[in-house]
């Protein structure tokens, strides 16, 4: 990709990071919603599809709604089903 391609920085945790093999990736991004971003990431990492399909997304330190727009340059985190406690 060219240096000036807009991206979002996507951070991964737990089983998603393990399936993908990395904890952080820059995803090319021309804008769209959280749902669009999920589709783009699933296309890049089909191995993670079972977890991505039931993951939420965070923008910074808050959860994002599914129809929320994700700006280029955003810090995004994939939040698969949790197991703390």
């Amino acid at each position: 990709m060219r240096d000036d391609t807009p991206t979002v920085r996507v951070t991964m945790f737990a089983g998603v990071a393990e399936a993908v093999g990395t904890r952080s990736v820059d995803v090319p991004w021309n804008g769209g919603t959280v749902v669009d971003l999920r589709t783009a990431i699933t296309t890049m990492f089909p191995v993670a599809e079972p977890l991505l399909s039931r993951s939420a997304f965070a923008l910074g330190d808050r959860y994002a709604a599914a129809d929320e727009r994700v700006p280029a340059g955003a810090d995004v985190a994939i939040i698969p089903p949790v197991s703390g406690g």
């Binding site: 737990a14 089983g15 039931r54 985190a77 949790v82 197991s83 703390g84």
Partner: protein
Amino acid sequence: MPHGTLETRLNHQDVALTREPIDAKALLSAVTDVTAGGSVLFVGSTRSQTAGAMTTCLTYEAHEPLARAVLAALVAEARERFALVGCGVVHRLGEVAAGEASIAVAASAPHRKEAFAATEWLMDRIKRDVPIWKCEHSPDGSRTWVHGDMPPNTSGRAAEVMTHP
């Protein structure tokens, strides 16, 4: 921890993520004062046996800023919903040996029913919504990240509170 406005109650003093053993007694003391009639402390521990397989230890990882924010919002909601005197949560991260505590939740209220209800409610919400994950390590060296079927709730009261700080 006295009552206050929603804004003052939505603070991070009541929640902690730690890589050290949890001091549950300190948490219980912190949430109690003379207006409390009942205080409940829940301590969750790593069991040596889970689903028939021996687990030597667990590790926990978190999206730490998000976990702290969601925990603070849940504690603020519990304080209001159950009219609590005090409330707090500590979750451990990193390696947790069998028998050690992974979480402690404490709530105190003028009457015991609210303290019980708040502590159970918080545990249910934490297990659903707080971005912390458990990895089970077996004696043979294999490891398994634990994920349920449902994603965390992102549209609840906690999320609303966070988007209007």
